[in-house]
């Protein structure tokens, strides 16, 4: 297994700048998710790590060795494709054994390792079937088998669950994570689905427009988003944003929002007066009669144990998560309060999160 270092990676397709100076490190036996909306450059980044695309500039290191310009076959990595890419003219056994055949491993050894991979993935009974008759989940297992049979330095997966239905996807999320834990393989996993990323990853790299916005643990990504984009992209419903204009002193513990002061985590940097954004997760909104923001209930979405209440306020529509036991009438006037220690503040112009006490004590820097 290996460490993957990506340094200042750039990729342009003609005039289109797909990846802009992406840098991150995947430690040995870590599971990293590249997460972002479609077209953000996550797949291109993965393909550059695999050697299927050559970067315009930048460096890729596998265990310290510069492999940026190496051929895909010379990198000792395994790649799982979204559409499985099983060879339709071969049966399951030959598909799984194909990489070993490429390496020129003897037939006996090949068969032993294919059988072992099939046992790990619980597809032993399918070995002599043709791949065209398999169900989606089984096809994906065969594709995984082809990846693990070679014991490569790392696994790269490009939305491998994208083509499966919801139920199968749920099951495969747990299987993939369990497989990762058992093999301890360094894995880079591309997805646009935040739930997949949250459920599986040790660390998540959120990408947008070719830029890596934040690399952190799922918890940090959720609780301490580094940018407006991350805050908006992660979470369902996303973070509420309340725009305001103010300056900020180092150590300030409140901001002026309209008529009232709102307590915030102590600021760790100073900002001249500018357009700022207060970010608050729906579950950190509380209903109190003495609330600092007042508004009218616009509607509710019932989600079982909780409900999402949309409140029209001076700052736009805010969403709050509340226990579903509480009932709201449409048009009712309510007061809203925010949990001070969880609030994020962003610079509206750059989208960057302003450093506050929120960022201390987190796992990342």
């Amino acid at each position: 297994m290996a460490q993957i270092r990506v340094e200042a990676l750039d990729k342009s397709f003609g005039a289109f700048h797909a990846v802009k100076s992406a840098s991150f490190t995947v430690e040995d036996s870590q599971f990293l998710c590249l997460l972002g909306p479609s077209g953000c450059g996550k797949t291109t980044t993965l393909r550059m790590i695999a050697g299927l695309e050559l970067p315009t500039s930048g460096t890729i290191r596998l265990d310290g060795e510069d492999v940026t310009m190496n051929r895909a076959s010379a990198r000792d990595i395994a790649f799982v494709f979204q559409l499985f890419a099983l060879y339709p003219h071969m049966n399951v056994r030959h598909n799984i054994g194909f990489p070993l055949k490429c390496e020129g491993i003897s037939a006996a050894e090949r068969d032993r390792r294919v059988v072992e991979a099939a046992r790990i993935l619980r597809i032993s009974h399918l070995l002599d079937r043709s791949v065209s008759g398999l169900a989606g989940g089984d096809r994906q297992r065969v594709a995984l088998g082809r990846a693990i049979v070679r014991k490569p330095k790392c696994f790269l997966m490009d939305e491998p669950l994208g083509a499966l239905d919801t139920e199968m996807r749920e099951a495969m999320i747990h299987e993939l994570r369990a497989l990762h834990d058992r093999l301890g393989a360094t894995t880079v996993y591309v997805t646009h689905d935040q739930l997949e990323a949250m459920a599986m990853a040790d660390r998540i790299a959120v990408m947008n427009n070719g830029v890596v916005e934040q690399v952190a643990t799922p918890r940090d990504i959720y609780d301490r988003p580094a940018s407006l984009f991350v805050a908006d992209f992660i979470g369902s419903p996303p973070m509420n944003f309340l725009p305001f204009r103010a300056g900020l002193q180092t150590g300030a513990e409140a901001i002026r929002l309209g008529e009232r002061d709102v307590a915030i985590p102590a600021a760790r940097e100073a900002m001249a007066e500018s357009e700022l954004v207060l970010g608050v997760r729906p579950e950190h909104v509380r209903f109190t009669d003495r609330g600092m923001v007042r508004g009218e209930v616009y509607g509710t979405e019932y989600l079982g144990t909780t409900q999402i209440v949309t409140v029209t306020t001076h700052y736009g529509a805010l969403k709050a998560r509340s226990p579903s036991s509480r009932s709201f009438r449409t048009g009712e006037t309510v007061g809203l309060d925010f949990r001070p220690d969880t609030l994020s503040i962003f610079d509206k112009a750059s989208g960057r999160a302003i450093r506050t006490a929120l960022h201390e004590g987190g796992a990342h820097g």
């Binding site: 299927l52 051929r71 895909a72 790649f79 494709f81 060879y87 339709p88 490429c102 390496e103 082809r146």
Partner: protein, 317 residues
């Protein structure tokens, strides 16, 4: 299934439609088959039956057409023929009945062999070149790709015979006229544009993940092309090969113009048969019948690919 008695299905054609469509197909098949049946029947008629009017449908089969096709004969006096021993073989017997003796084999077999070599040679070459360039156009960022593809297609926009005279002069200068190599190159150059365009369509349909997977698994691009792309392109390659072969096999105009002694193919040779001793229609028909055989065999061998090939890509999966 709990089938409620529905008056008709909305997607299935009705029985009337099906009968109508069926009879159209049969009618079309009959119309296209009649000339072929006529040719095959004529091949087995005697020269008299072949030109009788009204045409004979029932007749006494004869191999005279085939004998005349494969042999050259010379006319002799009855006395001379009587002085010879018993007829040597079936054809000698038939010839003697017409006061002739077999003088030697005709040129049909060498011409037929030329046809085989030239048509199959150019087909192999056109399909090989076409597959490689179609793969390149399909997978790589080729500068001016669209213009190049259009240029390749544009070579088929004029009738090939329009360039017959320049090609004749060129071939005479560089010594390719009346050579098999020259004909193979000529038919290849005509077919390769068709092959590139047809095969590009097929290769575009093969997901590139297959090769990428193979390249990650340790193959070079060329190995991935041979081991992964080619097996999946067999359908397209077979369909393309048949189209190329049919063109090269049937080509007449260039063959008349550029070949005579050495490299003459069967199409320009068959009409020549007429001239030898009256209009020998059974011999012409026999030559044509045999000429049909290789293409029929080739098509039948590849028919399962051909059917899939023609409808390939119309519906995804």
């Amino acid at each position: 299934m709990t089938s409620v008695t529905a008056a008709h299905s909305v997607v299935e054609p009705s029985a009337t439609t099906r009968r109508f469509a069926g009879s159209l197909v049969v009618l079309y098949a009959v119309i296209t088959m009649i000339p072929l049946v006529w040719i095959v029947l004529t091949a087995f008629k005697s020269p008299d039956d072949a030109i009788s009017y009204p045409p004979k449908v029932m007749f006494k089969p004869s191999l005279e057409g085939f004998c005349n096709l494969f042999t050259t004969r010379s006319r002799q006096t009855p006395e001379f023929i009587r002085s010879l021993g018993p007829p040597q073989g079936l054809c000698d017997g038939i010839a003697r009945d017409r006061n002739m003796v077999v003088a030697g084999p005709s040129n049909y077999v060498p011409r037929f062999v030329n046809s085989l070599i030239i048509a199959f040679g150019s087909t192999v070459l056109a399909v090989a070149l076409g597959t490689l360039s179609a793969y390149g156009f399909s997978r790589f960022r080729v500068p001016l790709k669209d213009d190049l593809l259009f240029f390749i297609l544009s070579t088929r926009m004029m009738p090939p015979i329009a360039v017959a005279i320049p090609i004749y002069l060129m071939y005479r200068t560089i010594g390719l006229s009346d050579t098999r190599l020259g004909m193979i190159l000529l038919y290849t150059s005509v077919n390769v544009s068709l092959a590139v365009w047809l095969l590009k369509g097929f290769i575009d349909e093969i997901p590139r993940e297959y090769e990428e997977a193979a390249m990650i698994d340790g193959y070079t691009r060329f190995q991935a092309f041979v081991k992964v792309v080619l097996p999946q392109a067999t359908t397209g390659i077979a369909a393309t090969a048949i189209f190329c072969l049919i063109f090269a096999w049937n080509e007449y105009a260039f063959a008349v113009l550029l070949t005579s002694g050495n490299a003459q193919t069967a199409p320009p040779f068959i009409p020549i048969i007429i001239g030898e001793g009256g209009q020998d229609w059974p011999a012409v028909a026999a030559g044509t019948t045999l000429f049909l055989v290789p293409i029929v065999v080739f098509t039948v061998l590849l028919r399962k690919h051909l059917l899939r090939g023609i409808t390939f890509g119309a519906v995804r999966k």
